[in-house]
Amino acid sequence: MADTTSGRKPVSWRMLDAVDRLVAAAWPRGAHGMNGYLFILPAVALVFILIVGLGYMADYSLHELDLATYRLKDEYSLANYAAFFERPVYLRILGRSLLAAVIVTAVSIVLAFPYAYLMVRTQSAAIRKFLLIALFLPFFIGQVVRAYGWLIILGKEGFINSMATALGLPPLDLIYNYPAVIFGLVQYMLPFAVLLLTPALAAIGEEVELASESLGANWVRTFRHVLIPMATPGLVGASVVVFTLTLTDFAMPQILGGGTSDFIANAIYDSYFRISNLGLGSALSIILVVIGSALVALIFMIAGTGTLGISGRNK
């Protein structure tokens, strides 16, 4: 224990005292009621930077590219937004991205639920450890590496096709198409979904399920009327995260799509970097942000933010 009676305080204590004095000078006693807000300042600053960036993008999106100088014209116009709606390719790419986001979210949730459930309910420490390791291991492997891994497995000359050929079967087209992108995304998103579902399922006491069953409900009814409603915070959280990550994904369509299954993020990259059209790239980005935000808002409107424990009511 530190000796505080001799008047010589440990260095760490003296440093904390100095910080206290500094805070007292900078943050008057009358403002102490605002202490909580002080801690959210860094987060607010980050959001502020994001909003400023979005503001710049919104401004760029309203200027057309001048091909004579490759700079944005001074005049404001809706040409970039018009291009989005007039060129079928962009609507097709947006539709493809949204469809993928819906499919990947649905499949990930369906697959993640039993995984998370088993992880929180199993009595076997070995099984729980195995499931935990299997859950966290993919996080150590980057998305690009995983996508290339699938190329090795699913490629025309990959592992599965080698097996098929050895068995006298015709080679399968497993890669460089939309289903391959969906498959890669589900594999990538599944751990996120499990991770977000697990706390919600862990919060449901096992005795609640037992009570349901003791009152005569079979497993299906318990699942439908007890587990699902009580797991809603996890389901909503997992859906929002998986949906938005999929909607904005770049690498999987790029690597597993063979250049023909682009998502909107790929179109944004192309606009910024390949054709140097800052205005069009910004317009596509703003459209993506607006649609993504609107859909997330819709999910919250349907499920309610209260399901995530954000009710705004004092408890």
């Binding site: 590219l65 091909l67 004579a68 100088t69 490759y70 700079r71 060129r87 079928p88 390719v89 097709r92 790419i93 490629g155 025309k156 000359e157 990959g158 087209d173 460089y176 063979g258 250049g259 023909t260 299954s261 682009d262 179109a267 192309d270 910024y272 970097f273 390949r274 054709i275 140097s276 059209n277 800052l278």
Partner: protein, 307 residues
């Protein structure tokens, strides 16, 4: 190329391998904001370099010595002065797997449409290097470019039915290496490098021809005076005989310095153009035309291929 320069001047050269499309906006932003650009010399495609020149972010290289002695292809077309200097040309060849073409090299790009090659054809994912050739393969002529690209789009629509793969330089090598494609439009450097690495790949210039293009060097505005001077000295060295001989031989590309011998494995290769006769088999679209039309061509290419 940079090592002898360092030996000569004592100036260490640090190479930044940022992809050409991605370094471009960083340089532009630095110049526009009055900051010192992140690099001194940009090694770029001539199309990208032309865009930078149009934006007015390039230093004039007209005071370099010996520019008048270089081959005409060194001079940028349609731009005032020397905002960049082309350092070599390269050809978007028809690379193929000999095993898939037992009767010899493909004679026409139209073989890409054959059903037996379904899913085994590859192009660049932005159509670069192939847009003018698609017009010719689609029944058009060079005169159609850029005003009537419809024959090219028609060719792309037919090709789309054959499920082509779209990628970038490293993809082609991987796909050939894995035996996943039989034919691709790629730059001769890739095909040659793949062959040197033991991959069974050959290349040819089909009857419609191949697109020939150039890479160049340029210096961004906004460098301190002394640094701009040494950046120019590096470019000066790059267009000199010694650097051109070694650099271009290593790349396997025709230099802009006249009178240099091709590497032994490329003598007589139509993908290594050295004579006017060689260039007659190739299609060269001036950079300003490319720059002005690329966004439209790109959009149409994507529209067809993303269907």
């Amino acid at each position: 190329m940079t090592d002898p320069f360092t030996e000569m001047t004592g100036i260490p050269v640090r190479l930044d391998f940022t992809e050409d499309n991605e370094i471009k906006p960083k340089i532009w932003a630095a110049v526009d904001q009055g900051r010192v650009p992140p690099i001194h010399v940009n090694w770029d495609t001539t199309t990208n370099a032309t865009i930078s020149a149009l934006r007015g972010v390039t230093v004039d290289l007209g005071d370099l010595k010996g520019l008048d002695k270089l081959l005409p292809i060194a001079k940028p077309v349609g731009l005032d002065g020397w905002p960049l200097v082309n350092t070599y040309s390269y050809v978007y060849v028809c690379a193929y797997r000999p095993e898939a073409f037992p009767d010899g090299a493909p004679k026409s790009w139209r073989v890409m449409l054959e059903e037996r090659l379904k899913g085994r054809v590859a192009l660049y994912n932005d159509g670069i290097g192939f847009n003018p050739i698609a017009v010719l393969a689609g029944g058009g002529t060079v005169k159609d470019i850029p005003d009537n690209m419809e024959p090219g789009y028609e060719f792309y629509r037919a090709l789309k039915k054959n499920d082509p793969l779209l990628g970038e330089d490293p993809d082609f090598t991987t796909w050939f290496q894995n035996g996943e494609i039989d034919i691709a439009c790629t730059i001769s450097v890739n095909a040659r490098a793949a062959k040197q690495n033991g991959i069974d790949v050959e290349w040819t210039v089909p009857e419609e021809g191949c697109k020939v293009d150039t890479d160049g060097l340029w210096i961004p505005k906004g460098l301190p005076e002394n640094e701009e001077y040494w950046a120019k000295q590096l470019v000066q060295y790059a267009i000199g005989r010694d650097a051109q001989e070694k650099w271009c031989a290593a790349l396997g590309l025709p230099p802009v310095y006249p009178g240099l011998e091709p590497p032994a494995d490329l003598v007589g290769d139509p993908a290594y153009p050295t004579t006017p006769e060689d260039f007659k088999k190739l299609v060269r679209i001036p950079s300003p035309v490319l720059v002005e039309n690329q966004p439209v061509w790109f959009a149409r290419f994507k529209e067809i291929m993303q269907g």
